[in-house]
């Protein structure tokens, strides 16, 4: 069974690299979907069934569809325009790699992970997670609905147009817009 983990891990990493590296945004989105699905598989391996389901529904089902929708809406499904300078890209790659190395070194050296006492395989089941969520974390759960509400209001505000056709979120004139587009 351990082999399955490593296969899935490799899949996650490769798809993640594809997300970052692909020139076409649609390729990136598809790679990200693959990556998310592999992570969902990891959740299953961890016996976190509830998380796996929610993850597939929220990320793959909702968020990624939203991404695709936006790409379609904005007509982005063609290879990217200008890229960053080589130095910048190199620096970013090196920084990301270094971050991984330092974090790994930190775990290797500093973090001692104590063995689980009284292992309970059923911890990730819907019943146990749901129990904790609706007892201990009831208030944050309810408050998160307020977060959603404000997100909805914010999005509506951003997307709304004024009566005269100008965008409410900005005071940029048509001339300015034309200049920037040029």
């Amino acid at each position: 069974m351990a082999a399955l983990f490593y296969i899935l891990a490799a899949l996650s990493v490769i798809s993640a690299l594809t997300v970052v590296g692909a020139r076409n945004p649609v390729t990136s989105v598809i790679a990200l979907v693959v990556c998310f699905l592999s992570i969902a598989a990891h959740y299953v391996l961890l016996n976190a069934q509830f998380l796996a389901m929610v993850h597939v529904i929220v990320y793959t089902g909702a968020i990624m569809v939203l991404f695709l929708f936006v790409i379609m809406l904005l007509n982005l499904n063609k290879p990217d325009g200008p890229r960053k300078s080589l130095a910048m890209r190199l620096a970013a790659a090196v920084a990301g790699g270094l971050l991984f190395i330092t974090l790994a070194a930190a775990v290797r050296q500093g973090v001692q992970i104590p063995p689980a006492a009284g292992f309970d395989p059923g911890v990730g089941l819907v019943r146990s997670v749901g129990h904790v969520l609706f007892t201990e974390f009831l208030l944050p759960f309810e408050v998160s609905s307020v977060l959603f509400l404000s997100a909805i209001v914010g999005v509506v505000m951003l997307a709304k147009k004024d009566k005269d056709g100008t965008d409410q979120a900005t005071d940029i004139t048509e001339a300015e817009r034309a200049r920037r587009a040029a």
Binding site: A2, A16, L76, G124, G154
Partner: protein, 110 residues
Amino acid sequence: MEQGILTAIRTVPLDHYVLLSFLLFGIGAAGVALRRNTIIVLMCIELMFNSVNLLLAAFSAHHSDPRGQVFVFFIMLVAAAEVTVGLSILVMMKRIVDSVDVDQMNRLKG
């Protein structure tokens, strides 16, 4: 199958989950710095969220503590909200400056 899954938890050391999650986090971070397309940047941020989620879930499973997974749940909530707002900003940006290039959004330049 149940038995097999349990052995996966037991046979794969926690360290490897940690390393996997760090790797994904590093790739995501590099991607944010690397790409100019805002939509890719947003996706990389999602990737970073997920690496943290994976880490939390792994620790939660290894410690038999469901609270870690509840935390992942909340992160998903926030990520969903963040994505909606982020994408709507993206749409606005495309509409105003006719570009999705993050480097165009440099009004904060000091």
